[in-house]
Symmetry: C2
């Protein structure tokens, strides 16, 4: 075996440097965004306007100029404030619930893991190499608890920062839209980048620091060290669960409620300020699609890193204490930050958006550029950071692996992510026939629309599943479970760019809402709508990749769990495993039933409140009186917090109960079942929802002969399309994406508790 | 080991006797039904009427008496004729397609299995006991092909006979409805019983004869004998595939097409004779819900018997040539026929239905009585037909099993079926809160209705999956794969009663349609509607049990396949198996996408034709002109035959391709994945559909204060409910139930081709 080229010292420097570069880059972008002033008459406003009127950059379209300007800017600022306050207040209330959960669960972790060796403080022989002494289980309990808390806090911070920048940027995007679609695009995209880079860099930095601090205690016991680190992934994902589910219910209850009364019953446009639920709807975008998604992807990132690290710690990297090779996952992420930084410059500085039709290609170009660059990046990291040959733990044996094999593992994950993204785009963008067919089926009413939409979602799982299967096969064959974990990391390595694109969508959506509410002109609204439509498609792409990576992450965690629980085979032909498999495959249905029903009930409450306001507040429909926005915000908040608890419990308790009562074999079955079944529902649910949304937009936009034959707004086919869109809302924004977390979280929780289950689990069969 | 009490000779006699008793009973019931004359003015008609007017039995309600009577009877006969002709012509066309398939596939079976030993005619060492010589693989190829053809023909016959009796009984039920709901109920139920008993008895008899004839050649080589017999299951199930899919597409294309134009656009009632698609709709009930379902359940029955027999042949029963014990599965089925016969008498002779509200309890009582009696029956068979202790093949080892353990295996399956049935009823009957909640959600429109309905379907899988998991665990732990196979047989042992109840539904549905078309009075229609509503719920129960049994059957076949392919573990932790698992879990989605899209496209064609007729045939809406029913029948026929081919290919080719290219491990993964994922979609799809249907009926019937607040027909909530019902149609009658066959058929096909895959499979990995 040849040593890695990169020295340990250099590794110790490069990782934090990359993280800091990412953070600085994010702050610079924030600074640029902040130069759009929300105060009327400032340097960027009307004063400066005359001087540069001939340049495209500083030109305000005519009807927005003049006396009305101050008024509009003030109104935007006011609305932004309301959204920001609503979102902040929701998140803080949510964090109180999460805080209680965090403390309780920290205690559970400590007690369960501590009890493995009856809270003994003595060192004990290691699990994999009995000749060496490892730190006591009590230490593992304490450090796992600490890393769980760190992961939780980082996850919460990621979500919160994302929400802050999004609500900071939304009105700024609206104001920039007065100058042109390119300006607005850049503002929204930069803000997305702030979130993407902050999250990726923070996640890396905290993990890096934690490892280094823990090393002070653990010393050479890397097995124990990285076992304790898995708590970081659990913390990240469990916060994401509540963020995704709570945020998802919030946003869709408000959205569905606002649409059902506003669009369907009262026939007023979306985001009309007369609709009492409109602020809640906009708040929802920020707490669900921004904060929730941020926590989710942070969770995936943390988990795949932990899965890779824990497997590495019992492979030759860990056994021989090769620090650089051990840090391979972190180096991949570091490289990812740099690659994404370069990619972002292409969008913000190199190519300039001048027309609406350039937006979507520009975003897609981001994905392609980052993937191509990252492939080179992976090759570099693999050749400098890894010895040319090493061994990887493979369920009891050590398997010899070459560095180029690991390169293929990461690269196959990266490219599978791109394939999944583009397939998702094909099935959800209204530029292609699947969505157009769905739109066409609206001719015969809502029923055929729903049937075609469901069929589309089902069909859209085929290629992504093959892509995932191929990645699994390749990486599993080359480097066992470590291969899967780094494939997942590969898919997530361009997370900063992915998140920037993801966050761009809700920011544009909000910007449109603010334009409508501030009473800005039709042309502004058209520009923000164009931004939003592109965002819809890219959001679907983002969701597709998030689900794909969740599948790989979950499998990697499953592998790590199995290794740690000292299982060497999970045989479907044993009753214990098979019942786990079939019950596990049922859990996503149970979970989806809960979340969808929650959205439905919360939306019904919202509908009643909106109807009440419309009928009791005189002059509301005429625009003479203001609705009570606060009450709708409160309804969404209360409903989502109350409703997130049962699905949360289902996910958090299942591994504990199954592991304790039925033991590790059944739990393995449950994890495998939930994974293979959940990934299908997640993909089909989010694509079905995305397709309905864009089928509706296709009819509304009426760009082709065919689309015009279905429209205009208010026609029967359009009404049928609105029904499909409303059905799709909880599918694509609540139950679908939450399933990601279901499959990941159960796996990481099993991994953290593996020592307990291996020692004390399976009580029912011990009777 | 103690010998079984029942001698081989007695076994040889008892099985065919039970089958013949079943057939005779069915013929007697048919005779009773035929006494309802379709010729006006006969003994049973108006003449006889005066003499017994004081008795409830022969009393015709007033508006049906007198001069109009002849006219009505003639009209009913005419409509019945049209339906019967349409159904017969469809089935014959379908059989031509199936015939071609059957011949091609028979050739494939012969070539694949013959090639295992290069078409050698020499005897060879047995697979499990190398010291004994077994018949050559060529013999296996020939006999498998023959039993495949026999299974196919029996399946086709089952479907055809069911259709014949159903179309014979529908108008008779309508006519009897003039005398009272009890009379009509008995007629419909007796006709259902004809189908149930014919199918159960025929299936048993043909299987029994085949075994005995094959034994002449095979002699003591039971391993080879029962391997060849598995072709019977494959034949039964592959015909069922086309029957279910083709029939399912037919019935729902016609139904959705008829509803979308008739009910939604033209505002005419269901089954209105002015609707051109109305005959096609009624034909559809007979070819889809009767013939398709008949073939499906026959397939399940044949497969579970084959799975049990093939495992038994390599257990002590087969090795020691204990004929009685070997025939245990057939004896259970024989006992089932007798038990169901007694159960039927309760409905037809012991309790009499006098009021509408007694119908549903009476049907449910059938299920409970048959289950209780069958439990005793199983105990009797287990104690007289089995030695007190024996060994069962368990993936390479022999496991010692007691006869009472086998009793528990069968009984747990039987009772799990009942539990699944009642849970299904809870979620789909409008007497309970889940459906009422769905109906209530119609207040806010179709979108919330669809959301709540989907959530209900997802939720309804929880308990059935636990019931299946428990059955699997108990029977697997007690008697390995043989336990699972007999548990499936237990669930299917009361198949005659189950089928009678299932077939009763579409017959009543048709009877209502005929009453409407013949212009009979409102009161008659109310009676047939009441019959139909009860049938809807019991149909859902039947579907639930069919899915449950399919899950067990499929697992049993999977186990038999694994045994035959000489695999001892199916380890999820190997890449070959895992990719199989995840791709397998995707197949039900692919398949559902195909079938739902097919229904959608076929329905669109039907809508166009119905619209065309309404707009081009003058006087159609006024009832002055007759629509062109034949054209609609033709559209449904053509569409369903064309559309059944791609999903059919998916199911039939997947095991062949996977087995040949990727080998038996990956195929095992595919089977397990398809099973655990498919059963969930199947249950949720059929319950969602059933719930929407009954939510609509709940609003229409308006029996409670709450229901009335949502109605009446034509109100906004009712319109929303109709949309849900239409979406549910393909879910509950096409894609949901077809998934049963997907999971069973892939398993039985793998089992039949196992020797080929074991010898020549996995080409891709051999490169």
């Amino acid at each position: 075996m040849v040593e890695a080229m990169l020295s340990s010292m250099l590794t110790e420097i490069l990782i934090p440097v990359a993280a800091l570069v990412g953070i600085i880059f994010a702050l610079v972008q924030w600074l640029v965004v902040s130069r759009v002033k929300m105060v009327p008459g400032s340097a960027n406003g009307a004063n400066n306007n005359n001087s540069s009127k001939n340049g495209y950059t500083e030109y305000l379209i005519e009807e927005e100029e003049g006396v009305n300007d101050n008024n509009v800017v003030n109104k935007c600022a006011e609305i932004q404030n309301a959204i920001s306050e609503g979102a902040t207040s929701f998140l803080f209330t949510e964090y109180q619930y999460m805080g209680i959960f965090m403390v309780c669960f920290a205690v559970i972790i400590f007690l369960f893991l501590g009890s493995v060796q009856k809270f003994s403080t003595k060192s004990q022989p290691c699990t994999y190499n009995k000749e060496v002494m490892c730190k006591p289980a009590l230490a593992n309990a304490i450090f796992s608890t600490v890393s769980f808390l760190l992961g939780s806090l980082t996850s919460v911070l990621s979500g919160y920062l994302g929400m802050k920048i999004a609500t900071y940027a939304n009105a700024r995007t609206t104001l920039e839209a007065r100058k042109g679609v390119g300006k607005a695009f850049i503002t929204a995209f930069r803000s997305g980048a702030v979130m993407g880079f902050l999250l990726a860099a923070n996640g890396l930095l905290v993990l890096y620091i934690t490892i280094n601090v823990f090393k002070v205690y653990y010393g050479d016991d890397w097995e124990g060290l990285f076992e304790a680190i898995t708590g970081y992934g659990l913390g990240g994902s469990s916060m994401a669960l509540f963020g995704r589910v709570g945020g998802g219910i919030y946003t869709k209850a408000a959205d569905v409620g606002a649409d059902l009364v506003g669009k369907v019953e009262r026939n007023i446009p979306e985001d009309d300020p007369r609709n009492p639920a409109v602020i809640a709807d906009n708040v929802g975008d920020n707490v669900g699609d921004i904060a929730g998604m941020g926590s989710d992807l942070f969770g995936s990132y943390a988990e795949s890193s932990c899965a890779a690290l824990v497997v590495a710690s019992i492979s030759s990297f860990g056994v021989n204490h090769e620090f650089t090779a051990m840090c391979y996952p972190l180096l991949i992420s570091s490289m990812g930050i740099i690659v994404c930084l370069i990619t972002t410059l292409f969008a913000t500085d190199i190519f300039e958006i001048k027309a609406v039709k350039e937006i979507e290609p520009s975003l897609k170009k981001q994905l392609i550029i980052s993937t191509v660059l990252m492939t080179i990046g992976i090759a570099v990291v693999s050749f400098v950071a890894l010895p040319s040959s090493f061994t990887i733990f493979n369920f009891g044996e050590q398997k010899v692996v070459k560095n180029w094999e690991l390169f293929f593992c990461v690269a196959v994950g990266l490219w599978a992510g791109l394939v999944i993204g583009f397939v998702t785009e094909y099935y959800t963008s209204n530029a292609y026939s699947p969505v157009q067919d769905v739109a066409d089926s609206c001719r015969t009413g809502a029923a055929t629309n729903v049937i075609f939409g469901l069929a589309l979602g089902y069909k859209s799982v085929i290629i992504p599943i093959f892509a995932i299967a191929i990645s699994i096969f390749v990486s599993f064959s080359l480097a066992a479970m470590y291969g899967i974990a780094v494939a997942a990391l590969g898919m997530l390595s361009t997370i900063a760019t992915g998140l920037a694109i993801d966050a761009y969508g809700p920011i544009s959506d909000n910007a449109g809402g603010i334009a409508e509410m501030a009473g800005m002109s039709h042309r502004i609204r058209e520009r923000t709508d164009a931004l939003d439509a592109a965002g819809n498609t890219t959001a679907a792409i983002g969701k597709g990749s998030a689900i794909g990576s969740a599948a790989l992450v979950s499998l990697a965690l499953f592998g790590a769990f199995v290794s740690r629980a000292a299982i060497t085979t999970v045989d479907v032909l044993t009753p214990k495993v098979f019942i786990g498999l079939i019950v596990g495959a049922m859990l996503p249905y149970w979970f989806s039933a809960m979340t969808m029903k929650s959205v439905g009930s919360a939306a019904l409450k919202m509908v009643e409140e909106v109807r009440r306001q419309f009928s009791t507040i005189p002059g509301l429909m005429e625009g003479l009186a203001k609705p009570d926005y606060g009450n709708c915000v409160k309804i969404s908040t209360d409903a989502s917090l109350r409703e997130m608890i049962p699905p949360g419990c289902l996910v958090m308790l299942t591994p504990l109960i199954v592991g304790t009562l039925f033991g590790v074999e059944t739990l393995s079955g449950v994890l495998a079942g939930a994974l293979v079944s959940g990934v299908q529902i997640a993909i089909s649910a989010s694509n079905t929802g995305g397709a309905w949304d864009n089928a509706k937009k296709y009819i509304e936009a009426g760009v082709s002969e065919h689309a015009r034959s279905l429209g205009p707004k208010g026609s029967d086919p359009h009404k049928a399309a609105v029904i499909g869109d409303t059905v799709g809302d909880p599918l694509k924004d609540t139950s679908g994406p939450s399933l990601n977390i279901l499959i990941k979280l159960m796996a990481v929780e099993s991994l953290v508790f593996a020592p307990f289950f291996a020692t004390h689990g399976g009580l029912l069969f011990k009777l």
